[in-house]
Amino acid sequence: MDFDIIIVGGGPSGLTAGIYASRAKAKVLIVNEGSIGGQMVLTHQIDNYPGVESVSGYQLSKTMRQQAKTFGCTIKTGVTLTNISLDGEVKSVELDGKQTFTAKSIIIATGGRSRNLNVKGEDEFKGKGISYCATCDGDFYRDMEIIVVGGGNSALEEAVSLTKYASKVTIVHQFDHFQGYQHAIDEAKAHSKINFMLESRIIEFIGTEKLEKVRIESLNSGEITEMSISGVFIFIGYVPQTEFLKDKLELNSWGEIVVDNNLQTNQKGVFAAGDARVTRTRQITTAVADGTVAALRALDYINQK
């Protein structure tokens, strides 16, 4: 066996599980796609993590990563999980289609990610007209016309923040009403640079070297129009990153992992922690609490063997 415990996901829940398990002298591997810290690094300033007055998500991630490493955790980040085997006594993960690692127990801590539109051209124009981060890319669109897709708080708030740069922001949303807080809706509606295309959806991104236009379908009339546009920002919510577990673990209808009070899944020796599991509250504090519980129960499991 290569490891006692493999943790899939290096956000706050996975890193905390790594800290607890490796401090208990278990041999632990954390495998992580994306950046260490998960959604935490999207947060410029965290003000509600007890004991820390105010900290950037990047700094908190860096500290948690260092703590896990200090206790002896092996961390592989930026990898792609190409296979996972959860049944039986020996569990395993395959990374980048090349390396396979085995363990007695696995903790799934894969959190959530922003949802893609899954529309033709979306991949092709990522970074060339399509963005998922207003603070990262907003200033490339100075004095240009852009679209924001979505109708929740993120879409409404980011649309307002993008008016700092763009000459005009059109919010394209599939329903006739918004899902955001009233103050966010009011602020967007009152803004002179923002206008709305409701009950509409983008069905294609078009361009040569970069995005030039989009095709938009009216969900009422079925009419399809083309609109010239420099940029599209997509904020259509978060989904649990559990697609790869579909036939391997019990998930609910939203794709969240079903667990018992010990965070054990329907597979013996497989635990789930943080935003990826069924829960109503998704915060850093709840993620680290889950990481703690999952690590301690995984240690119990391997010690009983």
């Binding site: 950046s35 950037s56 990047y58 980040t77 930026g78 980048d96 998922y132 990262c136 490339f140």
Partner: protein
């Protein structure tokens, strides 16, 4: 003005030119400390041990000196951070815009630098 990563930083355009002209294989990630850039820095830090034939650097996008990358013709259509550029013997051989995963990066390293 440098980024808060553990990578080696390029601070000036002159240093940038000196590095790419004196080193065979160079990868530079030019970005900010944002969610699209951080994963790329993380992967580069990890790859430093594996790809000893490549020099890995970052550069702060907002530094005026970063014009050498921002204004490279290969990046003219880019509208997403980070701008990641790959140089072989001083020549820019590949450039990407926005977040990239490990497999995308290693594919480029293997294609251009092996």
């Amino acid at each position: 003005m440098v980024l808060g990563t553990n990578l080696k930083h390029i601070e000036t355009a002159a240093k940038h030119n000196e590095i790419i002209n004196s080193t065979e294989n160079v990868m530079v990630c030019c970005g900010r400390m944002g969610p699209m850039c951080l994963p790329v820095y993380d992967i580069m830090e990890d790859l430093e041990d594996e790809y000893t034939n490549v020099a890995f650097y970052d550069m702060l996008f907002d530094s005026p000196e970063a014009h050498v990358i921002r204004n490279a013709p290969e990046c003219s259509n880019f509208m997403g951070l980070p701008f990641t550029v790959y140089y072989k013997n001083g020549k820019l051989v590949k450039a990407t815009s926005s977040i990239q995963n490990r497999a995308q990066i290693t594919t480029i390293l293997d294609e251009y630098f092996s």
